[in-house]
């Protein structure tokens, strides 16, 4: 893709791309893109650090690198001797490997003793490490989350983790661009998660392949930062390289005073620059679509990819191809069936999609004064330790526990089920995470994705249900 000359109108993406070019793309070589922030976790980094040792190279910019423990970490507290319940010795070894690597190469690690430790895409924004105008990468596809701040943020593989550690740069061909304009306002009780699922359903799980998506329009402007992060987080589920939203006053108000942003006058100066990042009015996009956000209703997935979703209350649609048929078989559903009949065994609230404080508040609002159905197991896992403490300050943990659900320490947990928090074979989970692939939450697990409020409603009813049903059939406090 050829980028527009500088004098021409530029999109947010063009501006970020052009200002981070160390070397432009040529006929035979990709561009060299400078990376402002490199986020690191225990799963995809060990082999990256090995690459450095192999070549005897130091980490080029430790100060631009930030590490956390989240994927393999237990969410249950340590025993009385201080031992953490790791699922395997190998998981523990992986955590220790990151600890050693960070020590050896001088990288800031948010270890067990850090009050800020959290899921990498929750922690970065919370600390203010994520800022508008930055290029941000991480060995994790949901790095797209950070695009909510007007950053160019995308996931990379482990070899590339090694490249960024060594040279603070990446080799990249410029992706195409796409603008999704969301007109209208979201209705009552409709969340950013519903919006994201609606978009993926609309453009398909490969609808964004090869592209960076910018979200614009009234519905996007009306979202708070946490909701914007949820939307950008799910962008990868439409196959896109990255999702982004231009910084505005909402972005600036969220960032002001956070630990890693400039303080005082320097912040105001930075904010002024950030506001100029927005796409120029006549900027060019390779594709543009408009959707009516006011038509969206609370949504849940019924298949094995995030594009297979319906509004709560709708029937399971007809499978249009063999893959969809296979997905229905895996989920033990059939076309035309009412989802409301579907018994739910497990409910998971958490992840970098929906593990933030507003998500926990929404969950607690539904659970307050109610009990989850006796056959349901529900896990509520804050996205970071900061969020956990804030929630406990507000008494949300008590609401969750009183309802019969489990309150855990921060981590990825059941989102990808590599720490021992799993959905058993054949069981149905309603999950606020981002992927419903077969076996994602444990071999044979059946995942239905939804917002925190819908997930909580399903827990209370013990079957697929919306919040309105809970409110009409059960008294809260």
């Amino acid at each position: 893709m050829v980028s527009a000359p500088e004098s021409q109108p530029q999109s947010l993406f063009d501006k970020l791309w052009n200002t981070h070019l160390v070397q432009a793309q040529s006929e035979t070589t990709p561009a060299i893109l400078y990376i402002d922030l490199h986020l690191v976790h225990e799963v995809t980094s060990p082999q990256g650090f090995d690459l450095l040792r192999e070549k005897d190279i130091a980490v080029r910019c430790p100060e631009r690198t930030l590490a956390t423990l989240d994927h393999s970490t237990p969410t249950l507290p340590p025993d009385k001797d201080g031992r953490r319940p790791y699922i395997t010795e190998q998981a523990q070894r992986q955590v220790q490997t990151l600890r050693n690597n960070c020590k050896e190469f001088g990288i800031e690690l948010h270890d067990w003793d850090s009050p800020s430790r959290g899921v990498v895409h929750v922690m970065g924004p919370e600390l203010g490490a994520t800022q508008p105008g930055m290029t941000i990468v991480c060995g994790d596809s949901h790095t797209s989350t950070h695009g909510a701040f007007g950053a160019l943020a995308f996931g990379i593989g482990t070899t590339e983790v090694g490249h960024v550690l060594a040279r603070q740069c990446l080799l990249q061909n410029k992706p195409g661009s796409m603008r999704i304009n969301l007109d209208g306002r979201l209705g009552n009780g409709v969340t950013a998660k519903d919006l994201a699922l609606y978009i993926i359903n609309h453009i398909g799980m490969n609808g964004g392949t090869g592209h960076v998506i910018e979200y614009t329009g009234e519905a996007v402007r009306g979202l708070d930062m946490e909701s914007r992060m949820t939307l950008c987080n799910m962008t990868i589920e439409a196959g896109a390289r990255a999702g982004m939203i231009a910084p505005d006053q909402v972005t600036i108000d969220y960032l002001r005073g956070r630990r890693k942003v400039p303080q005082g006058e320097a912040f105001e100066a930075a904010a002024e620059k950030w506001l100029k990042l927005a796409s120029d009015p006549s900027a060019y996009f390779d594709h543009e679509i408009s959707l009516d956000a006011s038509a969206i209703r609370p949504t849940i997935t019924y298949g094995t990819d995030p594009g297979m979703s319906v509004a709560i209350g709708e029937m399971v649609p007809v499978a249009v191809n063999a893959s969809q048929q296979k997905a229905l078989e895996y989920m033990d559903l059939s076309s035309g069936q009412s989802l409301a009949e579907r018994k739910v065994d497990i409910v998971f609230v958490g992840s970098c999609t929906n593990g933030r404080i507003s998500d926990l508040r929404a969950t607690a609002k539904v659970l307050r004064g109610r009990k989850i159905a006796p056959h349901v197991r529900m896990l509520v896992v804050p996205g970071s330790e900061n969020i956990r403490r804030q929630a406990e300050l507000e008494g949300l943990d008590k609401v969750v526990r009183a309802a019969g659900a489990e309150w855990r320490l921060a981590g990825c947990s059941m989102c990808l089920a590599m720490n021992g928090d799993i959905v058993p074979p054949g069981k149905t989970a309603v999950s606020t995470s981002n992927r419903n692939f077969a076996g994602r939450q444990g071999k044979g697990s059946r995942t239905m994705l939804a917002s925190p409020e819908t997930a909580a409603a399903c827990a209370v009813m013990g079957r697929v249900a919306g919040v309105s049903e809970v409110e009409s059939t059960q008294e809260g406090e």
Partner: protein, 195 residues
Amino acid sequence: MMQAFTRLTGNILVLAQENIDTDQIIPGRFLTATNFDDIGEGAFADWRYDDAGELVAGHVLNQARARHSPILVGGHNFGCGSSREHAPRALLGFGFRVVISSQIADIFKSNAQNTGLLPVVLKPEQHARLLQMDAGEITVDLERCCVIVCEESGEQHNWPFTMDPFARHCLLHGLDRLDFLSQAEPAIQAYENGI
């Protein structure tokens, strides 16, 4: 050091399902290793093994020919999902050198190129032809950027594919991209001085 790829004649193995995601290619529980040495053992583990941990008899990936078929033909939108490089590494570990589909997800594709697994995107009708063939020998030629298929009827196809020139260059010669980046160190420094 990445293994070079120039030209390969070998059997195809077809997994026709669309949207084969990275959680199918390598389930999350195999990600706790700190090296890629045995990663091939986890490839498609949830398809190859049943709930009791026994090999699923009759699954195409468990047939003897699977390990002798270096060319995987996957359904549309292959490799969607996570950025785990474990996915192409697991396919390499299992014995594949090429993945062919009518669409391959972005991050999977770049991870494949970085690790020496050749990702080939063919036109839908060509791809459909391979899905139908199900087995048999074809040639993938990276020097000429084409896939050569001889049908039983004797008909021969020569299907060109496009490939990013730099990725092709690195694959053909087994070159490490980090070396290329390292040569740009003066430009990186100049950029940093200008920030």
